[in-house]
């Protein structure tokens, strides 16, 4: 999920990641999801993947996912470093 970014991804590019994440959540494999969030290398990940991870897991962020908040902080910093509008992209998640 943390592949080098090479231009904007299309919806079809990230559907497998969303489907896989959804399956993990459906199976209540929260520890695995949390490990996944922890393992994201934001300096190499595409913005669409990072935002998908944060938004799909948003409903369970506080209860089961210890690394969600740190990932949000890291993604915010990374998007800013790439001169992307992090406040606009991450709105509603703070």
């Amino acid at each position: 999920m943390a592949e080098p970014a090479s231009g904007p991804l299309k919806p079809a590019d990230i559907m497998p990641a969303i489907a896989g994440l959804t399956q993990l959540l459906e199976a209540n494999r929260f520890e695995e999801v949390d490990r996944l969030l922890k393992s994201v290398k934001v300096s190499h990940a595409a913005p669409e993947i990072m935002v998908a991870l944060l938004r799909i897991t948003y409903p369970v962020r506080g209860k089961r996912l210890r690394h969600w908040s740190k990932l949000l902080r890291d993604v915010r910093a990374e998007l800013s470093a790439r001169h992307l509008d992090s406040e606009r992209i991450l709105r509603g998640l703070a």
């Binding site: 919806p11 079809a12 938004r55 992209i89």
Partner: protein
Amino acid sequence: MAVYQQNTLPFAPDEVLGVAIGTPNPDDLQQRHVGFIYQIDDFGPRFCHFAWHYKLEDEPLPPDYGWGPSGLDLVNKTVIAAYVALLKQNARDVPYSIDYDDEVCYFDNNGRYITQPIGRGLTCATFILSVFSQLGFNLVEADTWPERPDDAQWQQQIISVLTRYVLPEHIEAVKQQVGAKRFRPEEVAAGVISENIPLNFSAAHTLAQEILQDLYPS
């Protein structure tokens, strides 16, 4: 222009997310319908919408519908388009009802509808609000919405039709909600296309009127 007619200006090939609004029954222009429009491949835009009680549909965008692009940034548009494309297989068994509580979580972390107390459910418009809410977006400031007499009239009409499709206990509970604030399709469409969410009622109403002008030019 706030929205464009699909049969005169089709959803652009490079757009991925927007809102579609139209009139399901040409004889009743007051009854409007709204849903997501998304595009993930070269086969044209899809219309994902909550059509009716237990009927979540995903089909090609009808040519007589109007569409407007999402006001979000491209990153979020891409994420939400992908999420909506997967909704049909996840979010089923959604009941229809007229009340909406923006504090309630309608979907679980898998995108599946959480069974609510009897009589609760969604409309085509609140379906959109709830999906955005699931992903961390508030399209509207719900507490600024007024209760309007003509909405109660619409709610009564819906109940008279819904009676034929649902269990008596569901309809009895829905009847208790008549008079609840209503998020009209054009107001929710305004929330989708606006770059300045959440919209308060005044802003949504103004943009909604523009949408209606575009849909039904006089």
